[in-house]
């Protein structure tokens, strides 16, 4: 998600996303599929001639406008509980 959020207007294909996230392609695919199903991400096939390029077309993914907002909020929300918990522990003297 962070990889896509870095530049929400940029399209990224599977291998690029796999390299960015450090996830195996087979692991990243279901996540992308779910995000697409939720409308956070949109995808399209690259419009190239596979014979001319000597490789199959790539599938490009990009955050939607709504997806970018929701992803930012989700990431911020994911970070918040950890900080709040640490502050709470510090208040109780659990963490120096």
């Amino acid at each position: 998600m962070q990889a896509l959020l870095r530049d929400p207007t940029k399209e990224m294909y599977g291998l690029e996303l796999s390299d960015e996230t450090g996830l195996q392609p087979g692991t990243a695919y279901p996540i992308l599929l779910r995000l697409e199903h939720e409308g956070w991400v949109t995808s399209r096939w690259e419009d190239v001639d596979p014979r001319a390029e000597k490789r199959p077309a790539r599938r490009y993914y990009r955050l939607t406008a709504g997806g970018a907002i929701q992803a930012s909020a989700a990431l911020a929300g994911a970070r918040r509980p950890k900080g709040a918990a640490l502050r709470s522990l510090a208040g109780r003297g659990g963490v120096a």
Partner: protein
């Protein structure tokens, strides 16, 4: 446009019909053999009939994976082949591994399976050779969950009224 994946729905439907006919024929044959014997206790033998059918199907699938089935039958005769796709997939991917990916893709709903396979093919043809094995394993390991997820989405999509989203 998906590369080389414009397979006609008809070919896929025919293959499904063939699989159903084979399973049905096996079940009917086994059932008839049991009925003709002195053990005519109908339902008592049903687990055996189903078990025998399962063994026949399992053996067929295993043979298809290992490539023991003659070409033009079993795995190689499906819609992907009919569309002109080379059976062996990307040049750099071992044939048996490619065949496993194809078999897995056929467990998924039509369009979703074709897209998954096309994306796998695209990625595997570009990934570094040292990482290819791990990538294929990751595709196969995530497949069972993905198959369930895709079918759940497909069922919901079909149940939902209104215009259908393209797969």
């Amino acid at each position: 446009m998906m590369p080389g994946l414009d397979s006609p729905k008809e070919a896929r439907r025919k293959q499904r019909v063939r699989v159903v006919v084979v399973i049905g024929a096996c079940a009917a044959t086994a059932s008839a053999a049991v009925d003709g014997s002195r053990f005519n206790a109908s339902w008592y033998w049903m687990p055996w009939v189903l078990g025998l059918t399962a063994i026949v199907v399992f053996t067929g699938v295993a043979m298809a994976i290992s490539g023991d089935l003659p070409r033009g039958r079993g795995r190689g005769s499906g819609s992907l082949r009919a569309s002109g796709r080379d059976d062996d997939g990307p040049v750099a991917v071992a044939t048996y591994r490619w065949r496993m990916l194809v078999m897995v893709s056929r467990m998924m709903p039509g369009a979703a399976g074709r897209r998954w396979l096309a994306e796998a093919e695209s990625l595997l043809s570009e990934i570094a050779a040292a990482r290819r094995g791990a990538a294929i394993r990751s595709y196969l390991l995530s497949a069972p969950r993905l198959v369930l997820m895709m079918w759940a989405q497909e069922v919901l999509r079909r149940a939902r009224p209104g215009p259908r989203r393209p797969g």
